[in-house]
Structures are given as structure tokens and as C-alpha cells.
């Protein structure tokens, strides 16, 4: 099983963003590891069939200003979380039972939404179920999603090349 760091290195090598040392490591890995070869070929296939590379998004404002706004928002959210904590005068029973009742209500909400009794349709879909099987040995498949196009794609690679 290839760890995530190695997967990222394979992707970087494919994109031409590896250092020379890492590129050498990847070449040796591809020569010796069949699993790494399969993954690399899938990544290469995905890259070849997509319309274009992801566009580089340029910020309208300087980098430091952009990140400082994010930092201020985080600090503001942390201050708001402090304000939500119960005051000292809250009775003990409210502190104990209020979170439990909240969890119970959420649990009922989840159970009710997931149930599919006859003639009813849940309004929310919890997850999509990504079971995918490719039983033929001579082909492989992988799935990806384009949020912009509202499209889930299962690509079947017959390894023609």
C-alpha cells in the first residue's frame, strides 16, 4: 500500500515539480514497485484525458493581506466561541442535559432523514456510496468528480496505449 507522501511525490513527478533527488527516487520506485506503476499510469491517464490543467488563480489583493484576513476571521471565530460558553450562573442540570438533548435531537434527525419508508423520499442524501468494481483484469477504472459540471465520472481504462 503506497503511503500518501509517496502518492504526492508521484503526482509531483508527473507534473515536473520534483527535485532531481526526488525524481531519482521515483524512477527507482517505478522500476521496482508494480503498485506504484499502476498508480502512476492512472495519474498519467487522468492528466491526458482532461481538457486542460487547472487554471492558476491569482489573488486580487496582496498575499499578506489575504492571509491576514483569514487570520482575523479565525481569531474572530475563536472569540465568538468563547462567548458561547455557559455563564457561571447556569444551573447544573442545564449544563449536563442540554448537550445530551441536543445530541438526541440530532440523532433523531439523522435517523428520520435516512429512513425510506414506502412512498417517502428523504430530502437530504448523506453520502453517495462510492463502491466501484472492475472485475476484468485487463482493464482498470477510477472515479473522479467535477463539481463545476455536476458530474461524477467513472473512467474505464482499457490500457490501449
Amino acid at each position: 500500500m503506497i503511503d500518501q507522501e509517496t502518492q504526492l511525490k508521484l503526482q509531483a513527478y508527473l507534473d515536473g515539480e520534483s527535485t532531481s533527488r526526488e525524481a531519482g527516487e521515483i524512477v527507482r520506485l517505478l522500476d521496482s514497485d508494480a503498485e506504484a506503476q499502476v498508480l502512476f499510469n492512472e495519474l498519467r491517464a487522468t492528466k491526458s484525458l482532461l481538457a486542460g490543467n487547472e487554471p492558476e488563480r491569482k489573488l486580487a489583493e496582496p498575499r499578506e493581506f489575504y492571509w491576514s484576513r483569514i487570520r482575523r476571521e479565525i481569531e474572530r471565530a475563536e472569540r465568538s466561541a468563547d462567548l458561547l460558553s455557559a455563564p457561571a450562573t447556569t444551573t447544573w442540570w442545564l449544563r449536563v442535559f442540554a448537550p445530551a438533548s441536543l445530541l438526541a435531537v440530532l440523532g433523531v434527525f439523522v435517523a428520520v432523514s435516512l429512513r425510506s419508508p414506502e412512498n417517502s423520499v428523504p430530502m437530504l442524501a448523506f453520502g453517495e456510496g462510492h463502491e466501484i468494481d472492475t472485475p476484468l483484469e485487463e482493464i482498470s477504472s477510477f472515479t473522479f468528480r467535477s463539481e463545476r459540471a455536476g458530474m461524477t465520472v467513472v473512467w474505464v481504462d482499457s490500457h490501449r496505449n
Partner: protein
């Protein structure tokens, strides 16, 4: 009167949310689906009367994701799959799909090529979204089986 604390407010909001999002009764759990077999190529449209142009918005979506310029419809089938039922639909001489209604707009789709199971996928099909099973074909072309909820 003492203002309710934060926990009370959160609990009240959760109760309201639970009532709003209770299951909505609908007439049927049947799924009306549409499946299109589409051929993608960078060449111009060949002289084959069976090939039709696809909807511009679908073509645009495919061009936005895939590298091929032109997409043509080979076959289109609209069908209904009852709750917990399975339906086989032939898309071409070599391509068949089998769709099982798992309930809650969730389906399991099996794609058969030349009689062999090629791929199986479970997916929730949401309104206005596409489930695309696709693969490469000879001469740098590609095939696509696009499934959507019908009557969108």
C-alpha cells in the same frame, strides 16, 4: 425574563431543523432515468444518420472536463426502475447497462461490454447531475454512457 442560554438556543434550532427536514411523502419511489450512449472524437461528424447531436449544455459539460471536441449521441433510452427493482437496458450491440434502484435516488449501475461485466458503480443520482461511465476507444476516441434523472 431571563434570556435563554446558548445551549437552549442551539437545542431549539436543532428541533426546528429536524421538523423542517422530516421525510417528504412523494407519490412513488420509482426512478425515471435517461441513459445516453455518446461517442467522443476530435474529428468532424461522420456521415452516419444514426449519430445525432447531443444537447448543447451536455456537450459543454463534457468539453469542460474531457479533451475531445465533438460528442455525438449513438443511442438514448428512457426507462423507469421500480423500487428495489433491476432493469437491463441495451445501449448498443456491444454495450448494455443494468440499473438497480436501491431507494432514495441511489442506484447500482453495471456496465457490460461484449457480454462481460466491465464496471459496477453505486451512486446517488441527484437532479441535474450526470453519472458518466466512460472509456477510451480506438483511434483516440471515447465512449460515454451518461445517466441522468429523466424529465429534467
Amino acid at each position: 425574563m431571563k434570556k435563554p442560554g446558548a445551549y437552549c438556543q442551539l437545542a431549539l434550532a436543532a428541533v426546528v431543523l429536524a421538523f423542517i427536514c422530516s421525510p417528504v411523502k412523494s407519490a412513488s419511489n420509482d426512478l425515471n432515468l435517461s441513459a445516453q450512449l455518446i461517442w467522443g472524437t476530435n474529428n468532424e461528424k461522420p456521415d452516419d444518420p444514426k449519430l445525432k447531436d447531443i444537447a448543447p449544455d451536455v456537450a459543454e459539460k463534457l468539453r469542460g472536463v474531457f479533451k475531445w471536441k465533438n460528442y455525438f449521441e449513438v443511442n438514448r433510452q428512457e426507462f423507469k426502475v421500480g423500487s428495489s427493482a433491476t432493469k437491463k437496458v441495451r445501449m448498443s450491440n456491444q454495450c448494455e447497462i443494468e440499473v438497480q434502484n436501491l431507494g432514495g435516488s441511489s442506484v447500482e449501475v453495471k456496465l457490460y461490454g461484449k457480454g462481460k461485466l466491465v464496471v459496477k458503480k453505486r451512486q446517488v443520482i441527484k437532479a441535474k447531475e450526470l453519472l458518466v461511465l466512460a472509456g477510451d476507444d480506438k483511434n483516440d476516441t471515447a465512449w460515454f454512457v451518461i445517466m441522468t434523472l429523466a424529465n429534467q
